[in-house]
Amino acid sequence: MEITRRDFLKVSLSTVFLAGLGLELEKTKAYASELKVKGAKETTTICPFCSVGCGIIVYTKEGKVVNTEGDPDHPINEGSLCPKGASLFQIANNPYRVTKPLYRAPGTANWREVSWDWALNRIARLVKKTRDRTFLRKNAQGQTVNRTEAIAHVGSAALDNEECYLIQKFMRALGLVYIENQARL
């Protein structure tokens, strides 16, 4: 990915310049000991909230997001962002994210952590069981329908296009007809 942004070229140039300002920087060091984007990797992304499609740059250092801000070269937002977009940093640095698969057994009152393997195998088993029991080859009129009405899918309006495509491909291959996303809300 080639990025050429005037604004950010200045950063790398000015890191040299900054060295000469040690004294002034020293004064505010509680908040600004060093430009935190210095030496960070820049990755362009598109905001995950509304549908305007604003460009954001994610700055990472050692696998951690250290800063996020508007992409100044993006023609729609030209570097600006709303408060949601400006908070992207907190999606990456977020204590509440679920980081392991969870399972809640029937009749129990708690989540428990499970392995991916176990969860995926169990889901595959349940999908097959429900599908096999409810799959309809033909309707009452004898017309071929090849569907199950006992499994439903909703969501995906925040996934990537490629994932959306895979979801519809996968769900339709299973025979689902209840396939919906947020567009209908």
Partner: protein, 819 residues
């Protein structure tokens, strides 16, 4: 959106109605404010509530929620009565001159319904909703627009009732403000002035939602604003990739690229093609959808690869078929889930326990499931429904899985904005812990299910076993290790499945495996595969077009043709051939979207809606290429509830009758849900005397699963609130900051009162009407101390628009009491 966010800067008038861009699409205001500053554009906001967008408006018109068609009907009448329409455009590019079947009747003649209404079925027989055809099968026309059966005259007659007084009586809007709005909007019926509209769920979440949008589409056709820079019909969509998810056919009624989902009656591919491929007798119509056979065959080839052959109907049988006329939308889905008919459920990046209307019913429905799989970044009200308010976990038998996935910048792929621009996003870092990209979760599930069917057999395993799934390196067991989303993007774009020695389009030769240059190169004989025809051209042999970052803008209109890629074929303004006169000269030479170069015989500017020469020339084509007749349709025969938008009251309202059509209070084609107690609704009930509307605010997003977990945003909007006008608050003894209870026939929630003059009582049909408003961003699950409150959708009714089944969450009745 027909146009682009950047294009808002080109408008002379911007109507915001049923949307609130300053709060829900803040960056669009960058371009709206640019239009105001640089073009002296006028911003008009029509909204029940004075919003942050209204704060920037040149004119704010308060309106009763659910009365938009009355307002817009009055506008149509105003434009016609004052002769302010753009006649040349109307005559050449719309069906206004077309003659309609004399048997067709308007609601004026039939007590509030169009001809063909069946009260028992609550639906229309549309056999009279058609044009008169000449001997060649082409609609008869009266270019003088004076024949009493022409669409224009019918339109004029239909809206003759929508006088200023009537509009004010129904909407509650002050007459002078209505008239001022009409005057400003109608000023754009000139070739060199344009009006644009920003709408969102404020128009769609009504039992007349589709007709709200259509009403203004008619206005835009009358004023000649479709296809123009600074014009169009612009839906500001709610989620980052709701456009892409819709394009991908994650809806029960459409396959990718808006190809219809086959019904049981479409018994084979040929039947399907016959039914859904429009034919036209209009010689000047391009009738783009005549290409349907190529699109559906190529889609089947993308799904089933070499298994899909002409001999087996390209595996058409494998596609699941819906029952014709049956609804499988959210509302019906949860109705059937509540009734125990749905056993397994995937909530993939969605929180229906808060986002779907009548959430009480939804939450109870979830408890009837055998199993539930939730894929998300955060635990939420859906995944934890079994421990939510009123639930006894011991009694809930549902097995629940929570699968943690990647955030947008922890994986790679494209998303499509409201302006149809598909933009590529890169991976910045790994996800936390064991979280996985959604694509890999799908991959893992697919592989495991496939294995089970391979080993054990089962119900009709072929569609699963024969599916193509070549998305990266495979392990010893044949499983794709990790999905390479570039390979998926390439399949979506499409490729040749066989060598094509002489392609019928350009006479060049193409090799098997080469990417399709665009959908124009697709074939209906199985030699091309394409996952989604409208994305064909997005990922070519040489370049991922969606990742482009070119900033050239030679027209200065903000089209940015080298920035990423827009469907279809990188066109930025749809129907742009309507922005030029029949000779190809731009109606507004200052803002030329496209222009015909007669010397080189080609179009300059945006990617035109077809390369054919302008209408007046030999081989010239009409501008509305997706319509079989090539023109914009004022007369909407495809709708469930009538060819012209008509004012009906919301399901719940404080009035016993419709002031315009006494016999039909509500949309006569709305499906009434009443099987279960959770579906209850009331009409003109003194227990619920106030109109309530729901909305979003700048600081949160959707049900708040993302934003409630982000402290900086929660700091700004920590709790559910209800906005109440000063007069009502005084009546109820409520002060700003008080905790109040808002209740509807379906539920009750607490909220913090914001007493404000931004909601004013309106005088409607002789009564004083109070409106209140709630955001729907909150939920019991987080913050964990319950300080945020719960979803406003606990109050909203189970009812939807008859065309789309989008629930009517923008208007229902409530009571408000001090807690």
């Amino acid at each position: 959106m027909t146009n682009q966010f950047n294009d808002l800067k080109n408008a002379d008038v911007i109507l915001v109605m049923g949307a609130n861009p300053a709060e829900n699409h803040p960056i669009s205001m960058r371009w709206i404010m640019a239009a105001k500053e640089k073009r002296n554009a006028k911003l008009i906001v029509v909204d029940p509530r004075f919003t942050r967008t209204a704060a920037k408006a040149d004119l704010y018109v308060p309106i009763r929620s659910g009365s938009d068609i009355a307002f817009l009907g009055g506008l149509i009448k105003y434009i016609i009565d004052n002769n302010l329409f753009f006649k040349e455009y109307l005559v050449n590019y719309t069906d206004a001159p077309f003659l309609v079947d004399p048997a067709f009747k308007l609601p004026d003649e039939l007590d509030g319904v169009f001809s063909g209404y069946d009260e028992n079925k609550r639906s229309y027989d549309k056999s009279t909703w058609k044009y008169q055809l000449d001997e060649k099968g082409v609609p008869k026309k009266d270019y003088t627009l004076s024949d009493p059966h022409c669409v224009f005259q019918l339109l004029k007659r239909h809206y003759s009732r929508y006088t200023l007084d009537t509009v004010a009586y129904i909407t509650g809007a002050p007459k002078d403000k209505i008239e001022e709005a009409y005057r400003i909007i109608a000023s754009t019926g000139k070739p060199d002035r344009t009006c644009t509209v920003c709408y969102a769920m404020g128009w769609t979440q009504h039992t007349v939602g589709t007709q709200n949008v259509r009403a203004f589409s008619i206005v835009q056709l009358l004023l000649g604003n479709i296809g123009m820079a600074g014009g169009g019909i612009n839906a500001l969509r709610g989620e980052s990739n709701v456009q892409g998810a819709t394009d991908a056919g994650i809806l029960y009624h459409i396959l990718p690229g808006y190809n219809p989902v086959p019904t049981a009656q479409d018994t084979n591919l040929n039947t399907y093609i016959q039914k859904y491929t429009p034919v036209t007798k209009e010689p000047k119509s391009l009738n783009w959808l005549s290409n349907r056979p190529k699109y559906i065959v190529s889609y089947l080839k993308a799904l089933y690869g070499e298994n899909a052959k002409k001999e087996n109907d390209f595996c058409y049988d494998y596609l699941p078929k819906i029952e014709s006329g049956q609804d499988y939308s959210f509302i019906t889905m949860f109705d059937n889930m509540y009734k125990g008919k749905i056993k397994g459920f995937f909530a993939w990046g969605q929180n229906p326990a808060c986002s779907v209307a009548n959430s009480n019913k939804v939450r109870k429905a979830l408890a009837k499931l055998d199993w539930l799989v939730v894929v998300n970044l955060w635990d939420n009200e859906t995944s934890s429904f079994w421990r939510g308010p009123g639930m006894d976990p011991k009694k809930v038998k549902t097995e629940v899985f929570f699968l943690p996935c990647c955030a947008s910048f922890e994986k790679e792929g494209s998303i499509t904005n409201s302006g149809r621009i598909a933009q590529w996003r890169y991976k910045a870092l790994n996800p936390p812990g064991l979280a996985m990209p959604d694509a890999d979760i799908i991959n893992e599930l697919y592989f495991r299910i496939k294995k089970l069917y391979e080993k054990e057999g089962g119900a009709f395993p072929e569609p699963i076993l024969k599916l193509t799934w070549d998305y990266g390196e495979k392990d010893a067991s044949g499983k794709v290790k990790h999905v390479d989303t570039h390979l998926v993007a390439k399949e979506i774009n499409g490729y040749f499945t066989e060598d094509v020695p002489v392609h019928p389009v350009d006479k060049k030769s193409y090799k098997k495996g080469q990417q399709l240059p665009s959908f124009a190169f697709m074939l209906d004989d199985g030699r091309s595969a394409c996952g989604n025809w409208i994305y064909s051209g997005s990922y070519t042999d040489s370049i991922n077009m969606m990742a482009r970052r070119g900033k050239e803008d030679p027209t200065g209109l903000g089209l940015f043709l080298n920035w990423a890629w827009a469907w279809p074929v990188n066109r930025r303004i749809l129907y742009n051939r309507a922005s030029v006169d029949p000779k190809g000269n731009p109606y507004d030479p200052e803002r030329p979207v496209i222009k015909w170069d007669p010397v080189n015989r080609r179009w300059i500017g945006d990617v035109p809606d077809g390369p054919q020469p302008p209408l007046a020339e030999e081989g010239g084509k009409l501008p509305f290429i997706m319509k079989p007749l090539g023109v914009g349709t004022v007369f909407g025969t495809g709708l469930a509830d009538g060819p012209f938008p008509t004012h009906y009251e919301p399901l719940e309202c404080p009035f016993v009758e419709n002031p315009l059509y006494k016999k039909h209070r509500i949309n006569p084609t709305v499906k009434i849900f009443k099987d279960v107690p959770e579906d209850r609704f009331v009409v003109c009930d003194t227990r619920y005397p106030y109109i309530c509307t729901t909305y979003r605010v700048t600081e949160h997003w959707q049900t708040g699963v993302m934003t409630r977990h982000m402290d900086w945003l929660r700091e700004l909007q920590p709790q559910i609130f209800v906005e109440i006008g000063r007069e009502l608050a005084k009546e109820k003894g409520i002060k700003s900051g008080d905790k109040v209870i808002v209740s509807s026939p379906r539920g009750r929630i607490w909220a913090i009162a914001i007493v404000t003059d931004r909601f004013r009582p309106l005088k409607v049909a002789g009564q004083t009407i109070h409106q209140v408003g709630l955001p729907w961003h909150f939920g019991w699950r987080f913050p964990e101390d319950g300080s945020g409150g719960d979803s406003a959708n606990l109050l909203t009714p189970t009812v939807g628009d008859p065309n789309t089944m989008i629930p009517e969450t923008k208007v229902f009745t409530v009571n408000v009491e001090k807690a």
